[in-house]
Symmetry: C2
Subunit: 269 residues, 2 copies
């Protein structure tokens, strides 16, 4: 009885959000859209990301989505208002749920946020956390996404890189922070490694988990929809083979069929 949930991301990272959604809202119908021909969003400008995110949102709406989950921190950070303005569907992003969770658990009222270059440049987390009375220090970690995509999720190199980034943030600005916010949907795969590297007193908050919880609450509010069949459809704008192979790692289960979409043609950009 859940709505058809449209989930989108620049690529594979949003599958960590879908994985959590499948836990808390099982049985719903899902449409997942990965804009793999134009990934990553994280190194691009607000203008370009907003344009891409809007075309993805429109695609999902035209394919029957009844609510949208922006399972991408960069798209949420740079284009949440534009996406909401361009659709009549209810929209959930990943930033606000994460910020709410940080606010609920931080005792020192200080947090460290790691994210892509574009998310950090937007200061979306800093602004959202400030509304909750939390002072945040943000740090772009551009190497973590390629390390995850290389499959080095428990590799000594990744541990050293994480050390460099986390030492910088915890020694320079985020002293006293008791929460580390993972502001990129790739990072949950690094959770065990980051747990070893982060200061022991610091709790880790994962935006994927928080977003799924928020989506579940919104579904309760929306009330009963048409009967759902528990279907899962995947769309990608580039190689479906690569999506299947890499995506399974993020989703934690096999991905069978992926539909290739020519986004520029489909969306009429």
């Amino acid at each position: 009885m859940a709505p058809i949930i449209g989930v989108f991301d620049s690529g594979f990272g949003g599958l960590t959000v879908l994985r959590e959604l499948l836990q808390v809202v099982p049985g719903a119908d899902y449409l997942y859209f990965g804009d793999t021909a134009r990934l990553p969003y994280g190194s691009k400008s607000a203008y370009t990301v907003a344009r891409y995110a809007n075309s993805a949102a429109n695609f999902l709406e035209r394919h029957g989505a009844q609510m949208l989950v922006i399972a991408c921190n960069t798209a949420t950070a740079l284009a949440f208002d534009e996406i909401r303005a361009g659709t009549r569907l209810p929209v959930i992003g990943v930033v606000e749920p994460g910020a709410g969770r940080v606010a609920a658990i931080s005792k020192t009222r200080r947090a460290a946020v790691i994210a892509t270059e574009a998310t950090v440049a937007s200061h979306a987390y800093q602004k959202a956390l400030r509304r909750h009375g939390i002072e945040a220090t943000e740090k772009a970690c551009p190497l973590l996404v390629p390390l995850v995509e290389e499959g080095w999720i428990d590799h000594p190199i990744t541990e050293q890189v994480a050390h460099i980034y986390l030492d910088e943030i915890f020694n320079d600005g985020a002293q006293g922070a008791d929460v580390l916010m993972l502001g990129c949907t790739h990072y949950p795969l690094l959770s065990p490694l980051l747990r070893r590297v982060a200061p022991p007193a610091v709790q880790i908050v994962d935006s994927a988990e928080c977003t799924a919880g928020r989506a579940s609450a919104m579904i309760q509010q929306l009330g009963p929809q048409s009967k759902s069949s528990g279907s899962l459809r995947y769309f990608a704008t580039d190689s479906v083979e690569k999506f299947r192979r890499l995506g399974s790692r993020f989703l934690g289960r096999e991905i069978e069929k992926v539909e290739l979409i020519d986004i520029e043609e489909q969306v009429g950009e």
Copy 2:
């Protein structure tokens, strides 16, 4: 008296080719096109890369280019024939000049090639080198581009990553190779580091340098063109500020003005 030379790449890497061109064909007029809104090409499929490369080539032709240099190994590897078929201009890619140089210096007739995932998957270097009687082993090094873009061009992490990749290729397939071909235009920035990491007897060949030499030879063949004024125009499909900042590192000189292009609108995709 050189033709107007159109140079293109998915982003900044091609500026290493432009840097070499400015040495060997100074005074020519250059148009440089960086498709930064859709980079990187290296992790994408042949279909998508060919489509992007064609639109970039058409853009340069419509802006007055009289010859084209595909300053991107991935685009050359995946789409050279398509690009050549879609234009009446003479076209130079980066693969064949590099392969020719390897053939000229290899004594053991064996080479190691490092490149992006997409370039390796195409086996463009293996095929080109085989035509020159050289047996090549190829290795995708997906972390090197993000490390260069992070600015870690002489960083201990980059050295360790290079060690892992080069140990793999020289111990697994490329034993006896006496040349290391840098099959990505980002890699020349890592030349000093790779020189330390590669086996001492191995010579390093840089596709940027070879391509500039080949372009110079083609210009001699084309004969005199309209008078050139030594102008340099840069076009990028995403943030011009980032292009200026990151691009200067690749070009080895300041980049002043960059023109922002909406490629989907311009090319009418």
